[in-house]
């Protein structure tokens, strides 16, 4: 039954899902844009962020600590991976990079399965965000509003880092032409390591923020990875604004379709992606000639 309150609440759901997807996809897209590497371990990093937060929550009982731990853990994992493995693959064909990150993703998933088992674990929402909030003619789970807020703040922070800082300038220049940036005397490798760390952090942060909404399993990242691809294809690979637009569109498609028939929500997402590919192959905000 489609009613106004139902419609509005699904609209909000879509916004919250979309903002999270936008955040994860921004990570994927700045890694690709700067390093030229498609990170197939991105879904696993999302999952890893959730589990790192879960461990921190078990130890301290604090949700805020859990979120910080999830994000920081992935910065470290991302930067370390770039430094130790990914860096050796910049000169190899893109297919090798894809195989490598795919393999790393599997190792991450299986490590978590080894440590925590296949059964789901959950992180409860913080006490101040539990329950529901009355919003005029509908009541809405408070935590979802919090998710929306957190994701918006995170995206805003990412925007400031990318567009208002020296690092961001180097990253954006690297997206345009990484060879040139190197020639200008910037230590490209350090930038690359930071970018991979930040990109991984975006996934990990989203992973722990999402944990109170959907309980954690080692395989939770698989479907997220696929949705992230759809977001990036819709928005345009390598475009930060594209990731945000693509994320919000995808989130709304998922929620509004599931209001009509949940069975079709994923299918509809891919239908829209196909339409974008046919009508505007470079993505909504992507530039022609890239990738």
């Amino acid at each position: 039954m489609i009613t106004w309150p139902n419609f509005v609440s699904q609209l909000f759901n879509g916004l919250a899902t979309g903002a999270l997807l936008a955040l994860i996809s921004s990570g994927l897209t700045i890694i690709y844009g700067t390093l030229g590497v498609l990170n197939l371990a991105h879904g696993a990093m999302f999952m890893l962020g959730g589990y790192a937060g879960y461990v921190a929550f078990q130890a301290t009982g604090s949700f805020v600590v859990a979120v910080i731990a999830g994000a920081l853990f992935l910065v470290v994992v991302g930067a370390a991976l770039e430094r130790v493995v990914i860096r050796r693959f910049y000169d190899r064909p893109p297919e090798d990079q894809i195989l490598l990150t795919f393999g790393i993703g599997i190792v991450m998933v299986e490590l978590v399965r080894f440590g925590f088992g296949s059964l789901s674990v959950s992180v409860p929402p913080p006490a101040w965000a539990a329950g529901v909030t009355p919003m005029g003619f509908l009541i809405y789970p408070t935590y979802r509003i919090v998710v929306l807020g957190i994701a918006a703040v995170a995206l805003g922070t990412l925007y400031i880092v990318l567009y208002r800082t020296r690092l961001g300038l180097m990253v954006r220049a690297g997206i345009e032409d990484s060879g040139m940036v190197g020639m200008l005397g910037i230590n490209v490798y350090r930038v690359f390591m930071m970018v991979f760390g930040i990109g991984a952090m975006a996934a990990g942060f989203a992973g722990i923020v999402n944990a109170p909404v959907v309980s954690l399993t080692p395989d939770i990242g698989d479907s997220i990875l696929v949705q992230t691809f759809v977001v990036v294809v819709i928005g345009g690979v390598g475009s930060f604004p594209g990731a945000i637009l693509g994320g919000l569109i995808s989130g709304e498609i998922l929620s509004l379709t599931s209001m009509v028939d949940p069975a079709y929500s994923q299918v509809m997402l891919f239908v829209v992606m196909t339409l974008v590919l046919l009508l505007r192959p470079q993505g909504l905000l992507g530039q022609r000639g890239r990738a």
Partner: protein, 610 residues
């Protein structure tokens, strides 16, 4: 292309498949495992053609595996047909149809985009199978009750049973699949696919319809996947829905990488390693579900250190042990004969059908302009070239020579203006079509097929002329294309590299590569050949050789040469066009150009004034 004696691989494959039931049980393989290996191996043959040979990494093969499997299983379990073989064939056709549709979308993009799109589309198939179509496919339960094949032959009837009986059936299927794959890779299509992996840009420029060949490879891979999917249902007596999952595609990619991509046998070997390790680690070592962690680590290490997989690693090892050095690169490349070898009759070829009338206009640029955003690279250029002419195009750096050339071969479309070749308006044509009409160019920066031998390189270009833009002669041997061998040899002789024909391009000296670059353009028998700085980066001796080569190849052809080497241009060209700041500054005989005050002022002027 798999090399070696004809039919050797086929015989070895048959022998191996016959011996398996007598050997493998003694090293701990259950027949069920062996049968699964065959299904995965067959699935992988198609994927290897797509990824290993054509260079297209798809993470969406599960879509076709599942489609073929569920179509066949649906037909059989609903008693719509009783012949298992017929159901398998229809399932395969269904997967191929899906392959055409998906390929047309996914192949719009290359590289990482292609990988991402295939992932997304395969997931769509999974969701469609799981929910909207669950009434037909059983949703999460799959389709139970798939029968085993039953053969009747002249009163004798045989029902395939599980175990080694099933092995016989699957082994026969695998053998046929492998024989067909070997034929495909030895066919002209196989040669073109490998060329596309090595350098899609050049494959297109020598006249192959790259997009159509990629789609062909995609559909071939879908066919193998669909057939293997059907066999999975037959083998298990049940069609599982997880055939459609991302994990299935991932397992296929990993098995192929472990066994060795670009070998056809790699996926089979990869499946042996994968399934054996799974059983071994789970049951013997007692790791339980941790076996996948071990395999994941093995896979990462392999990608890092043994890129070409187990078979590739063994090949490299064998090559090192039986190292037979190629003839070393000569200090100086072989000289070019003063007199070009005669061009013998090459048999009927569309390109020789009408010779150019001397004096007729071959190429005409009518007011072509190219603007990149606000920057105008070429403005209103009018140039016409007559048959048999050797035209030089000169101009200072940034004069717009390269853009001009790219527009002539239709690599970039002009913003305005028309291009006519032999009276036909070719503006907006695909590069491969322009080449098929008889107009091609050699590149300023070498565009070769680096992993192939010199002879193979020339053959790729000659194939385009012999067979046209696109042809699905999948079962013909490439060497049997009429006139191909002769044309290849003649081109090799013309560029003076016959002695080096079997050396991989990566091992050639720079001067030799430059000559091959011209040879690739020549091998497609163009009537009009554009040469973009053929002398760039050459030693004085190589320059003399190449100038001689140009003199040789101009017989019967019209040539347009962009070159910075003024001595060479003034020696070779009959007429010279001077480009300056994107427009034609002057045109005339070398003597006229040398006298032209305009040219001296704008181009040579800086030197004269000092």
């Amino acid at each position: 292309m798999p090399r070696g004696r004809p039919l050797l691989l086929e015989v070895l494959t048959a022998l191996g498949l016959v011996l398996v039931p007598f050997v493998l049980p003694y090293v701990g393989f259950a027949p069920g495992t062996v049968n699964q290996i065959l299904v995965w191996g067959l699935f992988g043959i198609g994927f290897d053609i797509l990824f290993g040979y054509t260079g297209l990494l798809s993470f969406g093969q599960s879509a076709f595996f599942g489609t073929g499997g569920f179509v066949a299983a649906y037909l059989l379990t609903n008693n719509l047909m009783t012949s298992v073989l017929l159901a398998l064939v229809i399932g395969t056709l269904g997967a191929m149809l899906a392959g055409v549709l998906v390929g047309m979308i996914a192949l719009r993009r290359t590289g990482i985009y292609f990988a991402m799109i295939t992932v997304a589309i395969a997931e769509t198939f999974f969701f469609v199978e799981n929910s909207p179509l669950s009434a037909l496919t059983g949703g999460e339960n799959g389709l139970p009750g798939v029968p085993t094949p039953h053969f009747v032959l002249g009163g004798f009837s045989y029902q395939v049973q599980n175990g080694w009986s099933m092995y016989g059936f699957l082994a026969a299927c695998y053998f046929i699949g492998m024989v067909v794959a070997l034929r495909i890779m030895r066919s002209p299509v196989g040669a073109v696919l490998i060329a596309i992996r090595d350098n899609p840009l050049r494959a297109r420029a020598v006249g192959h319809a790259v997009g159509a060949y990629k789609l062909a490879a995609f559909v071939i891979a879908a066919a193998y996947a669909g057939f293997a999917g059907g066999l999975l249902g037959v083998l298990q007596g049940f069609m599982p829905p997880d055939a459609f999952t991302f994990a299935t595609s991932g397992q296929l990619v990993m098995q192929t990488a472990i066994g060795g991509m670009g070998t056809l046998y790699g996926p089979l070997l990869g499946a042996v390693v994968w399934l054996y390790l799974r059983d071994f680690l789970q049951e013997v070592v007692g790791l339980g579900s941790t076996w996948k962690l071990v395999l994941g680590l093995v896979f990462v290490l392999l990608v890092c250190f043994l890129r070409r997989g187990i078979i590739g690693g063994l090949q490299d090892l064998a090559a090192r042990l039986t190292a037979k050095p190629h003839p070393p690169a000569p200090e100086e490349s072989a000289p070019i004969a003063e007199v070009a070898p005669p061009l013998a009759s090459l048999g009927p070829s569309p390109r020789h059908a009408h010779a150019q009338e001397p004096g007729a206009i071959v190429l005409e640029a009518r007011g072509i302009t190219k603007a990149y955003g606000g920057i105008v690279a070429n403005r209103d250029i009018n140039v016409s070239v007559t048959a048999g002419e050797l035209r030089g195009v000169i101009g200072p750096n940034g004069a717009g020579k390269s853009t001009f050339f790219k527009m002539l071969t239709c690599e970039v479309p002009p913003t305005s203006g028309r291009i006519l070749f032999e009276g036909r308006d070719i503006t907006g044509y695909d590069v491969s079509r322009v080449c098929q009409l008889g107009l091609t160019k050699s590149y300023q920066v070498n565009q070769l097929f680096p992993r192939l031998t010199l002879r193979h390189n020339i053959m790729i270009a000659a194939l385009a002329e012999r067979r046209g833009r696109f042809r699905l002669d999948l079962l013909r041997r490439a060497e049997r294309v009429p006139g191909l061998a002769l044309q290849t040899e003649q081109t090799l002789a013309l560029i003076g590299l016959t002695a080096r024909a079997d050396v991989p391009v990566a091992e050639l000296a720079y001067g030799e590569k430059r000559r091959l670059e011209i040879g690739l353009a020549l091998a497609s028998s163009p009537r009009l050949l554009l040469l973009d700085e053929p002398l760039a980066g050459m030693s004085p001796r190589e320059r003399r050789e190449t100038v001689q080569l140009l003199k040789n190849i101009r017989r019967g052809r019209t040539l347009v040469v962009v070159e910075h080497d003024m001595d060479a241009v003034f020696e070779l060209a009959e007429r010279i066009t001077v480009l300056h700041e994107g427009t034609v500054l002057a045109e005339g005989t070398p003597a006229e150009i040398q006298r032209s005050s305009l040219v001296q002022e704008a181009y040579l002027g800086g030197v004269a004034a000092e």
